[in-house]
């Protein structure tokens, strides 16, 4: 695997291979010295155009546990604020000879674009509302640990699907693993033609009891300004996953950070059905596996296919 840009590029065997490798890294976290030398001497550059503490530190920790050197480059306070284009930023960073660039941007397709401009391996850590492939992989990994095989499982993704890259990547990944996915949320927050991804679309939680896994999305407060739902109160009344709605057999997931009392009630967050902290833990080992996949097989200094031109 040269880059990880999109779940669309992965088949079931690749997803399983990454999950299996992640499982083999899991015990590292329990060692006294939480490090293996797999990527010693490699440089991983975190290039983040959006605020992110969790994903960035998860990648950072993953790289460090593999003994890679990590440089964090965030858009605020950098040349980006002085008007440098994405291309020029990447060409500049290439001079630091990174082996991998982990990139998050608010723009769909940007990670793929960056892959055109750098000889480094590119890992998409979120491109606009398009995809967040490592989130999907860590969610698949978590479910495989928790419930095993996903073939035939019913997974409901509930909430603001419209603005969610997690929803898109997870629909694709869960389906690739054999699950049947339903997305559910306010009609104003489900994109038209969402069923083109192969999932079912519902606007009420009426059939939620049939789900094996309930995956709640973060309801972002800033959506309130744009009148997507009348009030948070009404949103919670219609879509909140709470003790009344969550069945004992169901597994509850959430990409974090949770808004207690909005998309999830406090009681379900704290229930043993919730695997939310397990997801965070999985994040590190899955990202270790992804970095290993894109880096371990490579020659030390991969040559770019063509000298990027500054035009």
């Amino acid at each position: 695997m040269r880059h990880l840009l999109s779940i669309e590029d992965l088949d079931r065997a690749s997803i399983e291979r990454i999950c299996d490798r992640a499982a083999s890294f899991a015990e590292v976290a329990h060692r006294e010295i939480k490090k293996v030398p797999a990527l010693r001497g490699r440089t991983v550059l975190n290039l983040f155009y959006e605020a992110s503490t969790r994903t960035r530190s998860s990648f950072e920790l993953a790289a460090k546990r593999l003994s890679a050197d990590v440089v964090n480059f965030s858009a605020s306070g950098s040349s980006v604020e002085k008007g440098e284009s994405l291309k020029d930023t990447v060409l500049t960073l290439n001079a630091h000879k990174p082996d991998a660039i982990v990139i998050r941007t608010p723009w769909a397709g940007a990670a793929a674009l960056v892959a055109q401009w750098t000889p480094a391996a590119v890992v998409n850590a979120g491109d606009g509302k398009h995809e967040h492939p490592t989130q999907a992989l860590l969610d698949v990994y978590t479910l495989r640990q928790r419930v095993g095989d996903l073939d035939g499982a019913s997974i409901w993704i509930v909430g603001d699907v419209l603005h969610s890259r997690v929803a898109r990547s997870n629909v694709l990944a869960f389906q690739e693993m054999g699950a049947k996915v339903t997305v559910c949320g306010p009609p104003t927050l489900i994109p038209r033609h969402m069923e083109a991804l192969g999932c079912d679309v519902r606007y009420t939680l009426e059939d939620l009891p049939s789900a094996d896994v309930v995956y709640a999305l973060r309801m972002q407060n800033e959506r309130m300004d744009q009148a997507f739902v009348p009030t948070i109160r009404e949103y919670a009344a219609e879509y909140q996953i709470n003790g009344r709605r969550l069945r004992p057999h169901q597994v509850l997931m959430h990409p974090g950070p949770v808004n207690r009392g909005v998309e999830l009630s406090g009681e379900v967050v704290d229930s043993p059905q919730a695997v939310i902290t397990m997801q965070v833990e999985s994040g590190i080992v899955v990202r270790m596996a992804v970095l290993y996949e894109v880096l371990a097989g490579r020659a030390n200094v991969p040559a770019p296919t063509a000298e990027p031109s500054i035009a």
């Binding site: 994405l86 291309k87 769909a108 898109r168 033609h193």
Partner: protein, 459 residues
Amino acid sequence: MSTSRPFDPASALVQAPAPPAEVLIASAHVLDPRAGIDAPHDVLVRDGRIAEIGAPGSIAAPPGAEVVDGRGRHLLPAFFDPHVHLRVPGQEHKEDIETGTRAAAAGGYCAVVAMPNTDPVVDSAPVLRSLRDAAARDARVAVGFMPAITRGLMGSELTEMAELRAEGALGFTDDGKPVVSAGMLRKALQYQRLAGGVIALHEEDPSLSGSGAMHEGAVSAMLGISGIPSVSESTMVARDAALAGYEGGRVHMQHLSCVESVRAVAQAKEIGVRVTAEASPHHLCLTDEAVRAGHAGHGLLDTNMKMNPPLRTEADRQALIDGLRSGVIDCIATDHAPHARDEKESPFEQAPMGTIGLETAFAAVHTELVVPGILPLALVVDRMTSGAALLDLPVPGIAADVPANLTLVDLAAEWEVGEDGYESRSENCCFAGRRLRGRILLTVAGGSVAYRERALVAA
């Protein structure tokens, strides 16, 4: 103020002086659907005018005249584009009058109409005058201008339409932006009774299109890109057709992109509203699948496929083709919209909207619609010239004793778009890399040779 001076159609188009053509195009297949010509002929151009049309081999070249072998080639009336962006003043890094009209000539056009969304906006007589002066120096083919309906394209105050008209305005448009306020457009339509000139409309309801970057459909859902719904266009087409009907005004709907808009124009025409419409080669030939079909996998997106209105679905494309065939859509207009490479070389959602189109319009429509037998060549030639009529200008035609506006094409010649670069200053072409059939060999515009394909230079 010179509002008493009447609009003069004869001087509305401006072109740089060039030596009049002296050329015999021998034995080309001459096709001019309006003149009813569809057979091989000799066509002699003397002193920039069509002097004689005769049977193949019947006309001897006068001394000093160039002879162009037309055998196996088609001679058409040169095309007229009512909708291009020449980017002057203020955005000369994208295009200027010289490069834009060179692109037009290379595409077989004898005249283009420039939009006013420049910097500064063409919204006053002095700016219009300076542009006409520049065109009189630099334009290789005739250029006409459509100044803005509202000052600064801000949608709140009318421009001095009467004075602009007297200075040669072919019509008025806020292209690039809609006239959001119905009340504002109504005033423009009322004022049109004084000023004259068609009001051309970019139809889009910004409360529906929002921050959309492509057609709202299955592809945008897959890509997680905010969509521009087709109703953001069609509701405004319907609204403005109703306003035009109420005021008895005359409107032209620019770059229709969807089935609902075609329907709205058809209904308006049925009840006698004075409305015309155009469609662009990219909307006639491509769909939203092209946004990511250009490259395999990885979510890599092609910013040359980003334009406003956006490429829509196959059903929309078919509706545009049907509209062109039935005459609901009056003409083909390129909406030639150059952008610099560094502007397009950015993430899709950040890239500016637009594609260049002058150099590929005929070949694209010929390849996608004529070669497969979807539309007859004669209809395409009609729709690529009829834009002149919408603006009360003479339509380019092939007849004795008219100014020579001709283009010689090789319908069988295949070429790859972009392989030899572009005449335009910009290269943001949605057809880049495609193989097209139909090559412009020679363009005579306003009586002068404006373009000659390299093969023809050597000959």
